[in-house]
Amino acid sequence: MTVMAILQDVDKCIRCNGCVISCKRTWQMKALNPGIHKTAPDQRVIIKSQKRVDMGPFMRFSCWHCENPPCVQHCPFDAIQKDAASGAVFIDPTLCQPKQYNADGVQCIGQCQIDCGRGGYPKIGKGSDQAPYKDLSKAWKCTMCHGRAGDVAAVPDAVTKYGNPLPSNYNTVLGIGVAYKSVAEQDHEPSCVYTCPAKAMKYDTRANVLAHLVPANGYVSAQGDGSMFWASKKGLVIAPKADPFVEDHVTPLVSSVLSSPFAKAALVPMALGAGLLALIARRQQLADESMGEV
């Protein structure tokens, strides 16, 4: 097993929302949020715009799969787990029991939502149409399609829980995908990466992603942590802010700075692993079942 990561080249994203709908279809999520540019229990990934409304650069916004995720630490049911092998932070929906008490008498207060300073994930609510979780309140978040990686040995009831494995978008018939396939997980891309028509996302080992994010490859700015990275060859990347309701997270002032020649000329030092701007995120309003109706 190898720690995997998603890299989004924000210069390439066109906000077609293909990843959003592919994700919702893959995970049988509900469709309850007209306009969908907000985080919610039935949203695992959305696309935000770094500048003014819908004017780009466009950035995918979902769980970062932190190296040391706080949500995992505080779950009384151990429903949220960090797969040390693949790096995915995932939720076992059979264990997640919002508002319930565990064997030690500790009640779930949705701390996972509160602790997350980055993506506002997980969100608790009736997010899925998939049996048996349909109409059950659970915590939902991006899992890097964990459980769909075909790792039946590691997750014996993976198919039951998570559905069938996803195919890789890479054709392995004529040798093109051979090197790629050397890592087993690469055979099964996350739904979002698999779908992306603009090929703005790269799914690879974390080590390869980090090795790729160097100025020699033309990148002038990058952000990320855990298994989620953003990079640009054109301007400053500011990781999406953890505000579930605001699509665009940069003020017009900052926007104008980012649009100026300065931004293009400036070689911003790598801020990998920092996600500093994300720390300014305000804490999340606790989302209960009613969030599903938002």
Binding site: I14, C16, I21, L32, F58, L174, K199
Partner: protein, 1215 residues
Amino acid sequence: MTNNWTDIGNASLVIAWGANPSENHPACMAHVNRARDRGGKLIVVDPRKTRTAVVADKYIRMRPGTDIALFNGLVRRIIEKMEDGADASVSPDQRAQFFAFLNQTETDNANPTRNQFFTDGTMTTASSISFVPGGSKYTDARFLVKPDGSDYQRDRVKAATGLVTTDGPDSTTISNFPLKAASVTADPNTVYNRLKAHVAPYTTTVVTDITDVSDVDLEYLANAVIANSRCSMPLPGGALGVQDPTAANYKATTLLYAMGITQHTYGAQNVKAFAVLQTLMGNMGRAGGGINALRGIHNVQGSTDQGLLYGNIPYYSGNPASMHVDNKTQLADESSIFTLPHVVGTDTYYGFAEAMVADDAAADYLVSVLANKVATTPTSMAQALDPTRWDILVYRATNVADSATYTYVGKSDLITKALAAMGGDIPLPGDICWDGTTFRAYVPAATSGNLYEFTSADAQVWTATATVYTTTTAVQYPSVISNGTATAVYYYDGAGISHIPLTIGTPAPGAATQVIASGQDPAIEFTGGKYVLTYQKHPDGVWQASATSAIGPFVGAQRYDNDAYDSLDGLATGGTNVLYTPRTGTQPEHITDKPLRGFVPRPLRAVNAFGKYMDALWGTPLSGTGNKAQMNGSYDDAYNTAAMALQQRGFYNMTYDFFGSAWCQVPADNWTPDRATTNALYNLWPKGNGDDHITMFRKMIDGTTKALVCWGQNPAVTEPNQSKIRDGLYNLDTLVVVDMFATETAMCSRKGTGVTYLLPACAHVEEAGSVSNSGRVLQWREKATNPKGKSRSDIELMLRFAKALDVAGAFSHITAVWTTLGKSYTNAYDQMYAKRYGWTPAPLTNNFETAAVSGTAEVWRAPTVAGGGVNPAPTTATVNGSEWIAELIFREMCTGSTGFSWLYTRAYNTNLAQDKHTGQADWGTANRAKSRSTADPNGTLAYPGWGYSWLVNRRVLYNNADVPGDVTDYYMGPDSASRLFVSTNTATLNYSRWYRTIHRLADKPDTCLTANVAPHVLPGRFPAHTEPYETPREDLAIEWGRNTKGTAKWDLIKDDSNVAAPGRSHDPADYPFVLTTIRCVEHFQGGPITRNNPWNVEAEPEPWVEINSVDALALGITDGQWINVVTARGDSLGNLTHDTAFETVGWSQGFRARVQAGSQGNQRVAPGVVAIPWHWGDQGLSKGSRANDLCIDAGDANTVIPESKACLCNLVKLP
């Protein structure tokens, strides 16, 4: 697309002009991103700052509807910079290369590898065909036009050494090739200099005023195009550089366009402007270049290939009907490329048609015109009759029953001598032809006929001696005189020519006497041994088939009784009767289309039904028996499969396949393809060009069209000016909708006696078949699962629908012909539909897809692949239902010389080693649409083993062998053999005659330098700016005009389109905003698929209107408010000009405002412009106001595409 999706990755500059691939063609962006990864830039030119624009390197905003002005301004700036040696922004090497390219000629005539039309990729395996010695290699920039701009200066050249004709080797003189200047700048009349003169008025000042594009941006654009074209990878001293996209610093500009370019009243001209720029810059036929129409549906290219437009039969061939219909009707319908066989290389007929329609009140009307000379469209009868406008003009006066009263005007010398030489014989207009050098006339008589031929060495001095050919059998045809008070019809009753008086009344098929109402013009068809009137003049001035001519089982459909032609069998078998055009060995292909111009006024005779169509489309063979002594055999080659090239063979195969039994499946002895059989089957082709989309619904309103089958389309959302669409749908007797969902069309208001059927189609993943993408690549789509519920595959629905028609007798006429031919089949339906594919018509059961039909085919899927995923290799398996029948049809289409699609030839080929690019591995599948090789052996992003691209897997059209490894294509100038033509025939010049005419638009330089000189009716190669039909700049419309058809069939817009809705003004001043329609990524076309998908509806739940913050502030509109958008056609609350009521409650609530933020120029839309999506309607999970209630149905003067991208509107804030 001239190139391919993957080829976009080779571009160093991508210009998306009138396209928004981020939202409308998202998969395109992967290839754009690949180009950008390699250092390429993306420029977006659009009135709206789309999501494509916000990720682009440069965005240039323009005023809606001013593309050509910007293009011409761009061309002007480029030429200025190239010619101005002091302009330091262009290097001497760039300058030298630019002109070296334009002046380049083909140098290697002795070894013309570039001239071959077909190759397996090595460029050495195919025989050469005709070429012009010293001909231009890439462009016609050096060609000379006449000083008056009316035509090229023509040349006669000797064919190349070694080319053999029936007259012997090296003997063929090829005429009509344009003369060339020494260089593009050497003569003021080179095409280059004419272009330069044409764009001269488009100064930067003028262009910025028209387009609102700044001079800085125009300069940026000019510099960017220059820096990313062929001229910018020069070798020292102007030597011509390599064109390998893998070369370092490869420079190529590609132009992407979509509906932003086409949906204008000048949409066709817009596209031509693209071609002008790319040809000038040498970007055609290069990897990473070309002009690429983005076609979003996975099979929209396939639907065009299959001839779904009203004027086409499949594979870009003209409709055979146009050989038969009344010429007036036909001519008025001439508006689309590839449509009409007889209007080749001249704009004459357009002028003729319009003059006739325009001046119907005049006492005289034109019967026929033969001319090479008309500069502008006549606008009055006097103008039309002006002899100086025509070389020869023939017309006749009112109430004259005698052909002798035809009046000839024009070349007085010729006419005087000709008429004198004919000694009293007066040919009817339909029996004369004029090609610029030869005048021919045929005069039939009761028992004999004479053919006269007059030739001239210099087109002015005419030989006084006529060559006379006498026939022994009469040529009979009907003729009718008068335009209002008809007097007589000539007809042939078996004993001789008679004429019958005409009376006033309604025409009826088969009647001996016919009736013509006052104001009507009669026309004639032959039915059951009698000539009848089948046409009348519609009150709106349109020549149409009379409703009373409906013959056959389809009520409301236009049909022609083709038995008429069988009745002329006496002519068909006549040994010596002369038809309109002799062919000689000394006048090769370039004039062969011309005589047809004199032919049309009467029904085609059976002897040439098939052959003449073939000749009309592709020219007449020179050899065989086609010489003067054996004119009767002129068309033998048209029936000779051995002499046919692929397109002709494809049409021939199609005729047998569609109207006989499957060519490749039936016993040969049952369908011996003799001449009589061919003619008989040809006559079964449906006749009539049909109607354009806008006219079609008007005919439903007036009851002419009574039934509509709407297969996978939702016009009740997608068509502009919905009032008329709704009224038309309302009035239909029968409406059949085939769709996955109950669409707006299926659910529309209908009259009480109307019947609507909704046939449940399955989704595209539930059926199989080949699709052709925008890059012309055929790809096979496997059936992922069987249709859900009671839905059915399109193939099953079609088979069952045809069965229902069969029960009603729809195919009895075909069976009857087969019986006449002595075939043993007694049921056309069985042979054409069911039994052909092994299916027995059965009651509706669910086993069609699982058990009813099956066979063995190549597949990729394999259940044994653990966990699904891509199969490592194709295998064979038993496939069922639509998957098997689709495979059979594909084989019928694509199998070698017997396939009925010349376009897809060899797409099914069991020889896996054939037709490969250089370095390409063997094909993995016989069905090459199923080929899935991801190899790119030449590094050119061609991926030649992925699917199969027409033609012959050529990935870059017009490539001049410039793209390494690709199948060679050849660029040729005007009046030359088409480069699209493909042949495997190695018989020397023979197959060069089977050319396919490429320029259906008038192939003349446009002499119109400024707007007011002439309307741009089917103009030549240089487009000129015209304003949209509704424009906020009426001053510019006055100065530059609109792209009007002038006096033709209908002038951009129907009379009933131009009526304001009740209570509304029609004054443009009351509509201060320009309305442009947009699409969003979340919804697809008319919306039945996506507006019934909860995730898509969630993503984009309601229609909106984008408003600039400046306008919003002035109107007090804030973000999120509901806005009523109002145009002259109505508003978004359902108050329209329609006659029939439909429910507006619950969905027609206006548009939610999206007020933009930012500086005014940096928002989605500019001040004064608003944009609305048009996907919504009154059905589905998401309902909303329909943009097409508001949009105008002004149509392009050439193609009739409606102007969805620019009309005027007002905004009213809703409470």
